[in-house]
Structure formats: C-alpha cells, structure tokens
C-alpha cells in the first residue's frame, strides 16, 4: 500500500525538503531511491527532479564503493539484514 502511494504522486521529495547536499554515510536517507535489490530507482517511479536524481546517483555510487550498501543482491549473495547497521 505504501509502495503504491509512493509511485502515484509525482513531485520531488528532495525539492520539498530543500535538500542541498546528501551525505553518502547516511544510508537511511538513501533508502527512498533504492529498490528492494538495491538498484537505483528510476525517476519515473520516484518522481525525483533531474538535479536531485543526479545527486542521489553519485551519493549511492559512493556508498557502494564504501561498502555501506551492496552493489547487487542475488540469490547467492543475500543480504540477511541490510539495515542492521542503522541506528
């Protein structure tokens, strides 16, 4: 239900919150733009504007390099509790 609502409204969540800078270490804030398999969600589904989508893309790629979020989630390499690090 919450998933469905996420795609219906078409506005940029980050513009509304007036986000100027995203921190790659803050994994909880990246959750919105990641799919269940940790892919970057497309703009047509999240409603992000181009500027914030570009920002989130670089931030997610940095977080991947820093081993904070996985590159891929396959059946072999399952992340058992992906957000257990979060406080």
């Amino acid at each position: 239900m919450s998933e469905k609502r996420k795609y219906k409204k078409r506005y940029c969540k980050y513009c509304e919150a007036k986000v100027d800078f995203m921190d790659y270490k803050d994994v909880a804030s990246l959750r919105f733009s990641l799919s269940e398999r940790y892919k970057i969600m497309p703009r047509r589904l999240t409603g992000n504007c181009k500027r914030h989508q570009d920002m989130i893309t670089t931030v997610i790629k940095r977080a991947r390099a820093a081993a904070l979020i996985p590159y891929t989630v396959t059946r072999k390499a399952v992340v058992t509790a992906p957000y257990e690090n979060l406080k």
């Binding site: 100027d20 800078f21 790659y24 390099a65 820093a66 081993a67 590159y71 390499a77 992340v79 257990e84």
Partner: protein
Amino acid sequence: MRHYENLVIVKPTLTAEEIQSIIAGVEEIITSNGGEIAARDAMGMRKLAYPINKNERGYFHVVYYTVAPSAISEIERRFRINEELLRFVTIKYDTNREVKAWNQQVEKANKAASTPAKEEAAPAEAAAAE
C-alpha cells in the same frame, strides 16, 4: 587548499590498539603531506555490505581535512601501500554548497566527539539519584 573527506576501512582482525595505531598512521600521512585535519568521526566496527578480501566486517573511520589538491595523489598512493586498509574513499568538496556541507559535517563530528563523555556522565548521575 581544498576541502576533502576520507573514509578508511581497517581490517577487523587486528586488536583495538593496532587499529588505533593504523588510524594514527593514516592521519600522519595526511598531515605530513601538508593537510590540516579538521575533524574525525569514528564510525566503529560495522558489517560490510559485501565481503572485501574475504572480510565480513571492518572498522570505519572518517577524516575531514583541507590539503592542496596536488597532495591527494601522494596520499592515495601511500594508502594503497598500507595492507591493513581494506578500502578508502576520498571525497572532494569543491563548490560553495559542498564546502558549506563540509563545514556542517565537521561541526557535527566535533560535537559528536565531545558529547559522548557527557552522555556517559548523565546516566551515572541518574543512577546515583535513584
């Protein structure tokens, strides 16, 4: 001078003192190349999102510093030689907006570094009061 941030992941198999000495070595590399460390943020031992060199965990440490752009290649070269570092991520804060964010993060890290002592003291007082 430009603003930078470096995240290093240290091997989890070392003892606490060895990890501290390696982090001191990392900071020494930065300062010896003309860098000025503004803040440090120890994220501590965390589970890695994917295994690096067969390690499932790692000790995360973040250093905020300013240094001349030409020194970065030397700093990264020295990091690569160090076998105890699983991974390092260097972030450049270039535009005015990013520098502002850098200042905020430095402030936050310094605040976090000074508050834990207070937090530890407060529960002790509360326990004493009970």
